[in-house]
């Protein structure tokens, strides 16, 4: 056993040799002075550029998100409400349905009357057909 160091795991001699070997083989080449200068220059160039961008970026992102939320909120306020597709009850569109059709179709449901004379509300040509086929 090698002398244990406080705060480091205890390794036996073979393990320690192995670890030293890995550390020695798996290391980058030291920086050359020229490379070190180039790295420092690149770092300072980035530091000079960076502050303005980073100061503006969160503010711009916040404004963009706020605008998006405002647009979505306002557009939803002025849109007609969506039909509830899950209820299973279809509502006729009044604009495309004649009043007499609507009354014929839905008045029974609403009033609950089983028998009713539709003659009063049907147009004349429908009445002619009804007389022939329904023997009215």
């Amino acid at each position: 056993m090698t002398q244990p160091r406080d705060g480091w795991p205890q390794l036996d001699h073979v393990e320690e040799q192995f670890v030293r070997r890995l550390a020695a083989h798996y290391a980058p080449k030291p920086l050359t002075p020229a490379r070190r200068v180039a790295l420092d220059d690149a770092l300072w160039a980035r530091l000079q550029r960076q502050p303005r961008q980073t100061r503006l970026t969160p503010a711009l992102a916040t404004v963009a998100v706020a605008m998006l939320i405002t647009c979505l909120t306002w557009s939803s306020l002025f849109m007609p409400p969506l039909h509830d597709l899950g209820s299973g009850v279809s509502t006729p569109a009044m604009s495309s349905t004649e009043p007499w059709e609507y009354e014929l179709l839905y008045s029974r449901e609403l009033t609950g009357t089983a028998e009713r004379d539709d003659g009063a509300i049907l147009p004349d040509d429908y009445l002619v057909i009804a007389r022939v086929f329904l023997d009215k």
């Binding site: 480091w8 040799q17 030293r20 890995l22 980058p28």
Partner: protein
């Protein structure tokens, strides 16, 4: 933080810059070596990682009165940046393999024994993230278990467990290196 740096008086700003110069000079080599080992031996990636970490350190400089606490914080950033780099590299490699049917190789500088270096890099890549970080920090970079625990944000017991498993796995993977204790390191 940044605002504070910009709005400081010129004397204070100069002092901060001098502090930062000293900080870079004293941690550049170790940070680069740590990043290099964590990203799998890629020079360019290691330099990118430490630049990002130094930029963050520069912004936080005013917050840390003691150099030791800044250094701990800085190395924590290096470890995290290296992990982020590896994660994105995995995504890029997967994407590249899917679309081009090839794997891009890191532009590592070949010196010493490149074959052995690649074997070690590959063996380290096969470890879990925690095992790799613990092994590199403690056994290769010489951080204590407590320091590594602070850098990794994990309990000391977990770090010790990672170290034990990492050593077992590496000794098994690099058995020839483990047996040969001649110590002919470069």
């Amino acid at each position: 933080m940044e605002e504070a740096l910009v709005q400081e008086s010129p004397a204070v700003a100069l002092e901060l810059e001098q502090r930062f110069h000293l900080f870079v000079a004293s941690h550049r080599e170790r940070a680069r070596r740590l990043a290099w080992r964590l990203v799998g031996g890629d020079d360019a990636a290691a330099e990118d990682v430490i630049q990002e970490a130094f930029i963050k350190a520069y912004r936080a400089l005013g917050q840390f009165r003691e150099e030791a606490s800044l250094a701990t914080w800085f190395y924590r950033i290096v470890v995290r940046q290296a992990h982020n780099y590896c994660r994105w590299r995995t995504v890029r490699e997967t994407w590249s393999a899917l679309w081009h049917g090839e794997l891009p190789h890191a532009a590592a500088q070949e010196s010493g024994d490149p074959l052995l270096r690649r074997r070690i890099a590959k063996a380290l890549e096969q470890l879990s993230r925690g095992q790799k970080e613990a092994f590199v920090l403690v056994h290769m970079e010489g951080f204590s278990v407590r320091e590594a625990s602070a850098l990794m944000g994990k309990p000391e017991g977990t770090v010790k467990s990672h170290l034990h498993r990492a050593l077992q796995a590496l000794r098994s993977e690099l058995a020839d290196l483990a047996e040969d204790t001649g110590g002919n390191a470069p």
